[in-house]
């Protein structure tokens, strides 16, 4: 079923990798059981910082999922043939990333057994409701598209006609998932850090930088471990996409800094001060945010100079810089920075606990395992031809 038989044939290295991931998933699961028993008190979250690593990871990986559109759009709308070999990889990456997002929301809930209440009492004025619709829909769209395309490839026939409108639909849908995610934050009175119209555009820009950067890295890994060649030109083109998106993202961040610090409205400045300089002696976040800033500048240098971007040794370095930098920014600073200082001016330190971090690792491992299996299937189908 679904060509799954191809995923259970593999070499020693493949099985060691799968086993490692399964081990991490088990560790995460055990920690989650503990959280289920004791409550979210086992995390570093508090009355003031009510969302942390879980929701931040959700936010970041929605971006990774949405970024599949950066290969889907050129390939299907502009008939950019070079992406033919990697489109399926982008779609499968989206499937894995959306699954992780849903799991991150799930592990964040205080009463997970009541999750279906979101569907039993549909609430269209809550952005959370639309997030559920957009994420669920995106998962179905990408799963259907990638499996249909792959099975027609295996049978050596051209894909059915009805799939084309579904592919077209998946393009605006990808934009919608990250826009809705930004709206979760940017519509809240009293949270000045998120109260900005460029939050959604910034989310999209950082997503279209981090996602394709990850895809480049995955292609390079696949070349090493599976002998899969994405094609020089496709990788170069992805590099150009990462460059544009990184530049736009940095531009939007600078706009944010300008409006905040030129207007000098204390309520808005305080969050940035906390994130980059520390407030009331709490500067545990600042070093990470400076690291994020330095990494993105390094990445910009490597990406903007064509000679360096085309260098097969430097491009992966730039991609790692982009990915890590944006992960720190979105997967750490954005959420914690929005909650600190609190509406009552309290600065509360949030430090993820070990069980919390293990649960996060477990969800990552589930995503990695899904992507491993799906890529294995995709490449086996390719090899058979």
């Amino acid at each position: 079923m679904f060509m799954f038989e191809k995923a259970i044939v593999g070499g020693r290295r493949y099985w060691v990798w799968v086993l490692c991931l399964t081990g991490i998933i088990l560790a995460g699961f055990l920690c989650y059981l503990r959280q289920l028993t004791y409550g979210l008190a086992i995390t570093g979250l508090s009355r003031d910082v009510t969302w942390g690593l879980y929701i931040a990871q959700f936010t970041f990986f929605v971006g990774v999922a949405a970024s599949a559109v950066m290969v889907v759009l050129p390939y299907y709308l502009h008939d950019y043939k070079q992406f033919g070999r990697i489109t399926i990889l982008g779609e499968f990456l989206a499937v894995g990333a959306v699954t992780m997002c849903m799991l991150f929301i799930f592990v964040d809930m205080g009463q997970p057994s009541r999750v279906l209440n979101v569907m039993r009492y549909p609430t269209p004025w809550s952005l959370m409701f639309w997030d559920m619709i957009s994420l669920g829909g995106y998962l179905v769209l990408n799963a259907v598209i990638s499996l249909v395309m792959l099975s027609s490839e295996r049978k050596g026939v051209s894909p059915p006609h009805w799939i084309k409108p579904i592919i077209i639909l998946s393009i605006p849908w990808a934009v919608s998932i990250h826009t809705v995610t930004a709206f979760l934050y940017s519509g809240l009175p009293g949270r000045a850090f998120w109260m900005t119209a460029v939050l959604a555009p910034r989310f999209l820009a950082s997503a279209f930088a981090a996602g394709p950067a990850l895809l480049i890295l995955l292609c390079l890994v696949l070349r090493k471990v599976a002998g899969f060649d994405a094609g020089r030109e496709a990788i170069d083109e992805l590099g150009v996409i990462v460059t544009y998106a990184t530049v736009i993202n940095v531009f939007l961040v600078l706009m944010e800094l300008f409006t905040t610090f030129y207007s000098r409205i204390p309520e808005h400045m305080e969050h940035f001060k906390y994130v980059f300089l520390g407030l009331d002696g709490n500067y545990h976040l600042a070093p990470w945010m400076w690291l994020s800033g330095l990494l993105i500048l390094a990445a910009l240098a490597l990406l903007l100079v064509p000679k360096w971007r085309h260098n097969p040794r430097l491009l992966p370095v730039a991609c790692v810089c982009v990915f890590v930098s944006l992960w720190l920014d979105k997967g750490l600073g954005l959420i914690i920075g929005g909650f600190t200082p609190s509406p009552l001016g309290a600065v509360t330190t949030y430090t993820p606990t070990w069980p919390e971090a293990t649960i996060v690792l477990g969800v990552w491992a589930i995503g990695a395992l899904m992507i491993t299996v799906l890529y294995k299937i995709a490449l086996s189908v390719r090899e058979a031809h």
Binding site: A41, P122, P343
Partner: protein
């Protein structure tokens, strides 16, 4: 009539679609229209006279009364605190009422804080399950602890920090359980309910009853002759962050 497999699938698909469609239509049509204020509709409100409040001399009778009445757990760890009414220094509660050169009369004074029962509550807007909602008949922002999924979106949305989450089982941290009021379970959000359980019995909120100085006045803000309205007509009052458009129902006389 013979139904082929294809027909069956088609029919069940249509059926499913119809059910989903009906649900969606109902959800959209039921989306609360801005309720035309019915004549009888009340809006419970509170006026706190800071000049009378003795919290700076250590009186916390209102807080104690609330904690006992509502089975509020006492956790020593500030991160896991659950509180319905508590106090904080004036300048954190009204940051914009401070000026650089004039010391406010209340600088440093502890100010009692609770849910504002906003006329336009952001927490209600964001809740994905309608586990928190504004009651039409009297404007109280209510909580259903059996429906709440514990996503804490309402805590992110509340600009007043009025909501608490049960990070762990609260029951062991309740000194003595009041059998007349429910305890909560871990993983749900809670906050002040304006003592709706006492109002239903014709009593005033517990914090008001407990106050030795008669600091707090409670009544219907929609009734021009009510006690709070009379006070608000003659005295200068502050609301917390009125610029956010939430329209709090708790006023502070300065």
């Amino acid at each position: 009539m013979k139904i082929t497999r294809k027909d069956f699938l088609r029919l069940s698909g249509l059926g499913l679609l119809a059910v989903v469609g009906k649900k969606a239509v109902r959800a959209v049509t039921e989306a609360r229209a801005p309720s035309a204020p019915a004549k009888a509709a009340k809006r419970w409100g509170m006026v706190i006279d800071l000049g009378k409040c003795r919290q700076e001399s250590g009186c916390v009778d209102c807080i104690k009364a609330c904690n006992t009445a509502h089975n509020i757990p006492q956790f020593p760890d500030r991160a896991h605190e659950v509180k319905w009414i508590w106090n904080q220094p004036f300048e954190t509660v009204f940051p914009l009422a401070q000026t650089d050169y004039t010391k406010q009369a209340f600088a440093g004074h502890p100010i009692p804080l609770l849910c504002n029962h906003c006329a336009n509550p952001p927490c209600v807007r964001v809740c994905p399950t309608q586990a928190t909602w504004k009651r039409d008949e009297d404007g109280i922002v209510m909580m259903d602890w059996h429906r709440c999924i514990g996503c804490r979106y309402c805590m992110a949305a509340c600009p007043y920090g009025s909501r608490s989450f049960n990070w762990q089982d609260p029951r062991p941290a309740i000194a003595s359980i009041n059998p007349d009021f429910p305890t909560r379970t871990k993983g749900v959000v809670e906050k002040c309910n304006f003592c709706e359980e006492r109002l239903a019995r014709g009593q005033r909120p517990a914090c008001i009853e407990a106050c030795p100085e008669k600091t707090i006045v409670f009544g219907d803000l929609n009734d021009p002759d009510s006690e709070p309205r009379q006070l608000l007509r003659t005295r200068f009052a502050l609301q917390r962050e009125p610029e956010l458009g939430t329209s709090p129902s708790v006023f502070y006389l300065v």
